[in-house]
Structures are given as C-alpha cells and as structure tokens.
C-alpha cells in the first residue's frame, strides 16, 4: 500500500466546529511533519513531532511511531483555516514522504 495514507481526502466544516485528520504509515517513521498549504501554494509548517503530542492554539497533533499513525485536530475552525493539509513522514531511509493531502473547506 501507500507509504503514507492520509484521510479524509476532503473535509467541510462550519465555523466554530472541530474535526481531525489522520495519517497512517505503512512503515516506521522517525518523525512526522504537518503542513498547511495556503492559496498561494506556500507550505507552512504546523508541527514537527518525533513523538508524543504538541499543541498550538486551536491545533493539536499527536504522533505514535509504534502504532504508525499521526493525527491533527482542529478546533473552533475559522475561515482562514481553509486550505490543504499535508502530513509527511520522515523515514529511516532519509526520505520524507508525503500523504496526498486533505482539502479543508471552512464554511461561514
């Protein structure tokens, strides 16, 4: 299967709602990085995790290397959160492999 499987492919949320994105890895990753891609195509790092959980404002991410998954939770969604979110796994082979992304649309 795909080295990095990201779900859901697309997500619509109303302002103020919350939801989660998930990446499953087919192999052990040394770390995971979450990005938001804005409308100009710029990749903005949200989190890098080698293990455990990190929180930043309305965003929270968890990485479990043993269970081979990572999650990104968005709460109190805002219009500016719209965009495409990617996870990327840092492999033992020095490659960084991306999921296909989640297109998030926050509705007023």
């Amino acid at each position: 299967g795909m080295p990095v499987e990201q779900n859901p492919p697309a997500l619509s949320l109303y302002e103020g709602a919350e939801s989660g994105l998930r990446c499953n890895f087919s192999t052990t990753m040394k770390g995971v990085q979450w990005f938001q891609q804005n409308h100009r195509g710029r990749l903005i790092t949200l989190f890098y995790l080698a293990q455990g959980t990190k929180e930043n404002g309305r965003l929270k991410s968890t990485f479990n290397s043993k269970e081979r998954y990572s999650t990104l939770h968005i709460k109190d969604a805002q219009l500016e959160d719209s965009g495409t979110y990617f996870c990327a796994g840092d492999t033992n082979a020095y490659k960084v492999i991306f999921g296909k992304g989640t297109h998030l649309h926050v509705l007023p």
């Binding site: 990749l43 020095y94 490659k95 492999i97 296909k100």
Partner: protein, 116 residues
C-alpha cells in the same frame, strides 16, 4: 528559521526545451530534496542528496537529473521537457545530524513550471 530559496519562481518552456531549477539553502543542512506537486498526488520525491556531489534517486525520477554542486546548492535539470512535467516544484532541506531523533524539513516557496 531555515531559509530555502528557489529560482525562478515561474517558468514557461516549450516541449523539448532545457530547464534548470535552482535551490539554495543557507543553513548548513546536509540533506536537500526536490519534489513535484500535482493534483491528486500530493508531493512526490524526485531526487535528494546528503551532501555535495551526492545524489539519491527518489520515487519519480524519470525525466529528471539533479546535481548538488555545494552544500548550499541543489539543481534540478529537465533536459527534454515534456508537458507531463508541468507542475509545482518544491525544494527542501533538513539537518540529518540529529537523525536518530528525526528531522524537520524546511521548504522553499516553490517554482511553477509550465511546459507548452
């Protein structure tokens, strides 16, 4: 924050043309990467390198060459460009000396290439 600079930011070329995309990082990172991004595929790894003179094959290398001339500079070469190579290209770098703990990757702003 780590700086990765790509040039040009936009490029249009004709089928069969010769294109070089440039990437420079000024953070003494040893690993550098070239990705392409296409709708429905996310970012796919073309080539990467762990130092000057080194080249590693990525997941979608066909039609691309790359060269790492210095610690700072990594070039992507399309010697016979085809319309299928129309894409958004990203360069990235990371410091793998902390490899055992995993490493964060820093990205450039991207180069939009159109092959007509």
């Amino acid at each position: 924050e780590a700086a990765v600079t790509q040039s040009p930011r936009n490029k249009v070329t004709v089928t069969g043309g010769n294109v070089t995309l440039s990437c420079r990082q000024t953070n003494s990172h040893n690993y550098m990467y070239w990705y392409r991004q296409d709708t429905g595929h996310g970012l796919r790894l073309i080539h990467y390198s762990y130092g000057a003179g080194n080249l590693q094959i990525g997941d979608v290398p066909d039609g691309y060459k790359a060269t790492r001339t210095t610690q700072e500079d990594f070039f992507l070469l399309l010697e016979l460009a085809s319309p299928s190579q129309t894409s958004l290209y990203f360069c990235a770098s990371s410091d793998a000396f902390r490899r055992e703990r995993g490493t964060e990757v820093f990205f450039g702003k991207g180069t939009r290439l159109t092959v007509v």
